[in-house]
């Protein structure tokens, strides 16, 4: 027996206002309440998510290898990657903050890329079984995604506050741009993915 889903019953859900509408023959159906375009599933979901995800995975490498920050003092110049930034925090004796940055900037982006790839593959092949786990993995990715922006904000504040007129100055490195791109790309990739694809043909 086919599951009683909107798709099987000819019903469309507006993802913006949760209004349920009957699918009509119109070429571009719109929500009767908020006028948002309606689709059975998000358009080109798999292709878009895959593209964004591959881009994010490629940029993850420079994001971690290139320096995100330069610290210049009168005596020397130091460059910091994300990982060495974590070590600086650890040496400063604030291990909870170091752990926080490590999780938000290194673990979370990597976890997001891997988890989205797993979920994407399952949706692409229409894998049966363990749908609930995959759905919950996807929701976790959606929930924690924004927290990776933490380092971008920290760097922007540091670079603004520590400027040339004082004895030290902090500059932004190309790694920060790569890192910011990874965060935004994974955020958008998670949003273009249609979770309902995991449950189709159930």
């Amino acid at each position: 027996m086919r599951a009683p889903t909107g798709k099987n019953l000819g019903l469309l859900l507006c993802l913006e206002c949760q209004q349920v509408a009957r699918a009509r023959q119109a070429a571009n159906p719109r929500c009767p309440r908020c006028h948002a375009p309606l689709h059975v599933r998000k358009p080109h979901s798999l292709a878009l998510t895959a593209t964004l995800l591959v881009l994010a995975a490629v940029l993850y490498i420079p994001a971690n290898l290139l320096p995100v920050m330069y610290t210049r003092t009168l005596l020397d110049e130091e460059s910091d990657t994300i990982m060495s930034g974590v070590l600086v925090l650890l040496q400063a004796g604030s291990w909870p903050i170091a752990l926080l940055v490590f999780v938000a900037s290194i673990v979370v982006p990597l976890l997001k890329i891997i988890a989205l790839a797993v979920v994407w593959y399952a949706a692409w092949r229409g894998l049966p079984g363990r749908r609930l786990q995959r759905s919950e993995l996807y929701r976790l990715v959606e929930f924690i995604g924004r927290w990776s922006m933490l380092d971008v904000y920290a760097i922007s504040l540091l670079a603004t506050l520590v400027q040339i007129q004082s004895f030290a100055s902090i500059g932004v490195g190309w790694g920060a741009l790569a890192f910011g791109s990874v965060v935004v790309l994974t955020l958008v990739a998670a949003r273009t993915f249609d979770e309902r694809l995991l449950w189709d043909e159930a």
Binding site: P4, L11, Q19, I97, D151, Y153, A154, I155, W199
Partner: protein, 200 residues
């Protein structure tokens, strides 16, 4: 078609729980949270929006942090933090920070003020549907709470070689973050459109 709902996460058709929904309602199949039928009050939402506006204005006029290094004071507001990135040539990052911490909350507050005030006075708000959809998008790009934590990380790193003082704006941003969270709970799309349907 009010008698059935579709799960936004797995598309399963189900009957909504009876109205006074005090607890969270989850999908029977995929356990996703379903939009809740709450009874929020329009005047409370209005009051909170004005609150958010006050916190936003204060949070953007006062410095977030003050740093004292070798007797020289430096302070930065929220906008300064973004502009600092563009001064170093990273204007893409500058826009990203500006959008997620300043422009998105501002648009959110502005849109809500307009829509709720029009509803309150029983007028048809021109462009209501487009503005509410913009509000939904903008909401998903508001990262004030992440910025707060980022500011804490920056303060800890600076504390190693300078005296740092958290500014008034940091407190205001914290309050703004809580107000916005409460507001997006009270003015969920289903709640908003129920208000609209009741007025017309």
């Amino acid at each position: 078609m009010a008698s059935i709902i579709l799960c936004p996460a797995c598309d399963l058709v189900q009957r909504p729980a009876p109205p006074p929904q005090t607890a969270r309602v989850r999908c029977a199949r995929c356990r996703a949270l379903l939009p809740r039928h709450q009874q929020a009050r329009l005047d409370w939402a209005m009051a909170l929006t004005v609150c958010a506006l006050v916190f936003f204005v204060l949070g953007n006029t006062y410095p977030l942090v003050i740093v004292n290094m070798n007797g020289v004071n430096r302070e930065a507001t929220l906008v300064d933090a973004a502009l600092g990135l563009s001064q170093q040539g990273f204007w893409v990052l500058c826009w990203l920070v500006l959008l997620t911490t300043v422009l998105a909350p501002l648009l959110q507050i502005g849109a809500l003020l307009y829509l709720l005030a029009m509803l309150y006075f029983g007028r048809m708000a021109p462009g209501q549907r487009v503005i509410f959809r913009i509000l939904t998008v903008v909401r998903s790009w508001t990262f004030v709470e992440v910025f707060m934590l980022g500011a804490v990380v920056a303060l800890v790193r600076l504390a190693a070689f300078a005296r740092v003082l958290p500014g008034i704006a940091l407190v205001c941003c914290g309050l703004l973050m809580m107000t916005l969270a409460a507001l997006s709970n009270m003015t969920s799309p289903s709640q908003f459109w129920r208000w609209v349907e009741r007025r017309t």
